[in-house]
Symmetry: C2
Subunit: 300 residues, 2 copies
Amino acid sequence: MRDFSQDHRWLSINTATVRKSKGVDLPLPEIIEACVRRGIRAISPWRDQVQAAGLANISRLVRTHGLELSGYCRGGMFPATDAAGLKAARDDNRRAVDEAAELGAPCLVLVVGGLPGALQGKPAHKDIALARSQVHDGIAELLEHARQARMPLAIEPLHPMYAADRACVNTLEQALDLCDQLDPGRTAGESARTPAPLGVALDIYHTWWDPKLQRQIERAGKERLLAFHVCDWLTPTVDLLNDRGMMGDGVIDIPRIRGWVEAQGFAGYSEVEIFSTGQWWQRPHEEVLDTCIARHRTVV
Amino acid sequence: MRDFSQDHRWLSINTATVRKSKGVDLPLPEIIEACVRRGIRAISPWRDQVQAAGLANISRLVRTHGLELSGYCRGGMFPATDAAGLKAARDDNRRAVDEAAELGAPCLVLVVGGLPGALQGKPAHKDIALARSQVHDGIAELLEHARQARMPLAIEPLHPMYAADRACVNTLEQALDLCDQLDPGRTAGESARTPAPLGVALDIYHTWWDPKLQRQIERAGKERLLAFHVCDWLTPTVDLLNDRGMMGDGVIDIPRIRGWVEAQGFAGYSEVEIFSTGQWWQRPHEEVLDTCIARHRTVV
């Protein structure tokens, strides 16, 4: 396992972590400047933040600073109630793939969606099996476009508490079942120069509880492990979405899980992704970034 | 699948559902009277409610009214940081078995516990594998006492969002793995007159999201399915513990899951268990019980 204690060369900041500074929206260019100033070498930006600042502008900034990306957040949200909805999702996901390529991202992270309308509090139906089937078909279709763009897709299993409204792929096993169905050849294995078209983004917040986690990480192997996200699970957790903890403040044994991932040969970034309305988004972003660096070196 | 639309003979009320009436604690004897008045034939009481009213008193009330129990809530909370803590859990669980027997319950529901101290916001460690091992050992030891008391133990897998503080058994598959390890002979299969010493309490709130749910229900079979709990998953859910929905108000396809359970031969009660600080505990308990009856007949 890599030694993170001496520097933060393998730290990446998911830009949602500093989406707000002292409660106020922080534009992506300022986030980038603050990361660069601290010697942070990689980020994973969100689409809405990129769009607000302009894709060309962010692409230029990333290249100027020699920044790497550890991912691009996010595509997905495949399920819909009618053909028009499915087509809109398909078109939007193709644009996301193209944006990820323009930014030089190593993968597009997929939060696959749940029951249509549930995120707006108005679920159109209760058939999660149907939603899962639409996710399967949506990824299958997007995969063709992703192959042409040479952009790997990283399915992110989300915590089961998001099954209804955000993602009906809820365990690493389920995500890997999808990978095996849609990319049985593990394309990356055939040629090191071809990026894996399909794999997973492993976020410990979503998966730490899973009694099968270690076995499924071993099943994934290096080819399928496209991204590794960290934060922490707080006790108590007071909000289902925006009460993620800073690494070290919760109950997740992060080094143990990182050890499992690195035992498979994963040598990429450890990406910090914290949504925190009550705590970290209330603080100055400089303090949040400095804390991420310190915790990356001590508890990740 | 049984037709629930004509009556509510297979409705059981978990007494936590009417723990409060208009925000005020409702004593168990009053809950029992209100259930009996409505022709509700079964309840599943909580230990703290029984203790507040007196075990002998409740036992007498149950028998006087010819009430059945669909379970007794709850034993468990096995993990601890030292031998004294483990022994205290063991002793308390034995008492719970004895109380369940005194009340004529068909099973003692086990909420197995998580990281010691996490429920109090002070987790003693981050080793969920250790907690799981203590749960295994705790159930193994309790099983001897349960066999003597002829009291089946029902392991309740809790939603993964409770893994840290309430139960580190989080899927039906994991619960059944425990059953197979600790009771490989499926004792009930050997003699219909011997109650199954070990099985599961299946609560759809905790398990509805699971892509393997149907397969694991089939694996459980009639011998392992000791209790069936219903409520609903709301979108949004505003509190991790006490924002469960009334059947029909959320996204769970309840009849589909009940169909899977009954296809295994389950013919017991459908037990309503709703924790709801903001909604149902604020209403008069009479209204809550009447609503449970109506929903049982229409959407369960």
